[in-house]
């Protein structure tokens, strides 16, 4: 059984309390806290460790499953997230070509090159 001395109290908008983590690493939440978060037994939560603090965010189980399946599908295909990230420059270039005229893109290239040259001449970091 999880051990808890959770004494959640409300103070305006703030709710908190103390708890004790049991030998299996479990921490129980009092009913007021569960009610405030809208969670119950079997609810899905996400947690983020922020330095020495823990942020607990109620999640719908469907999103957690979707994100896990997406990452798993990528992995099963022998791909990494970096493989997808590596496509970004080409994807960005395609979006540019689709959205703007060739004349405009050429002008943009020229202006950018001139700005970079000018910056170099000024001795600033390029």
């Amino acid at each position: 059984m999880p051990i808890s001395q959770d004494t959640a109290e409300t103070d305006g908008q703030l709710m908190g309390g103390f708890g004790i983590i049991d030998e299996k690493g479990r921490l129980s939440l009092s009913k007021p806290v569960r009610n405030a978060l809208g969670v119950q037994a079997g609810s899905s939560v996400a947690f983020i460790v922020l330095d020495h603090a823990l942020l607990l965010i109620p999640q719908d189980a469907h999103l957690a499953a979707l994100m896990e399946r997406g990452a798993a599908a990528l992995s099963a295909a022998g791909l990494t997230v970096q493989d997808v990230l590596d496509e970004l420059p080409a994807a960005r270039a395609e979006v540019m070509r689709e959205a703007y005229s060739a004349e405009f893109l050429e002008e943009l290239d020229q202006l950018h090159a001139a700005a970079q040259r000018s910056k170099g001449t000024d001795g600033r970091d390029a």
Binding site: I48, L50, I57, L66, R69, G70, A99
Partner: protein
């Protein structure tokens, strides 16, 4: 975390969305999960970024089995359905022209222009990017928004000046 008077507006770069949705649990995932707190956060989504993300995923998954590609795409779609999104269309050529003198000296790649111009126009509270070469200090100074990596953003959340 109580709901602020108005949600904190987060401009997310393509890398954050891809890493957060498809990568192992990390700071980018944390940001995306945090963003599902609709009372607290709004995702400022540039059309340029959304198109880039979809295109990059499609390019990489096009050769996969349809079910696998679909699961990858659904991860992104599922997250987008759960966050409050403020969409910004691609800036027009005129809108880009109006900002060029301001950003060209500090921008690294011409293809970043639409996203940067969108950020300038949207004025989000935060620009979150995994690419600090792209969102560099020169650009940060000009956008007027706070620019941070997902990890840096999450790390400062517990500090009194978080919002």
């Amino acid at each position: 975390m109580t709901a602020p008077a108005s949600p904190v507006r987060l401009f997310l770069d393509a890398g954050v969305i891809i890493e957060g949705c498809l990568g192992r649990w990390g700071a980018a995932t944390g940001v995306l999960i945090l963003a599902t707190m609709r009372a607290n956060f709004t995702v400022v989504l540039a059309e340029a970024i959304e198109r880039e993300v979809r295109r990059a995923v499609t390019r990489r998954t096009a050769a996969l089995e349809a079910t696998m590609a679909q699961e990858v795409a659904q991860s992104l779609a599922g997250w987008m359905e759960r966050v409050r999104i403020e969409r910004w269309p691609l800036p027009s050529e005129d809108e880009i022209q109006a900002h060029l003198a301001f950003i060209l000296p500090v921008i690294r790649h011409v293809n970043d222009v639409p996203a940067v111009v969108t950020a300038l126009r949207a004025q989000p509270d935060w620009v979150l990017s995994t690419n600090t070469a792209h969102w560099n200090s020169g650009l940060t100074a000009r956008t007027g928004s706070r620019v941070a990596t997902p990890l840096a953003f999450l790390s400062q959340l517990h500090l009194p000046d978080a919002q």
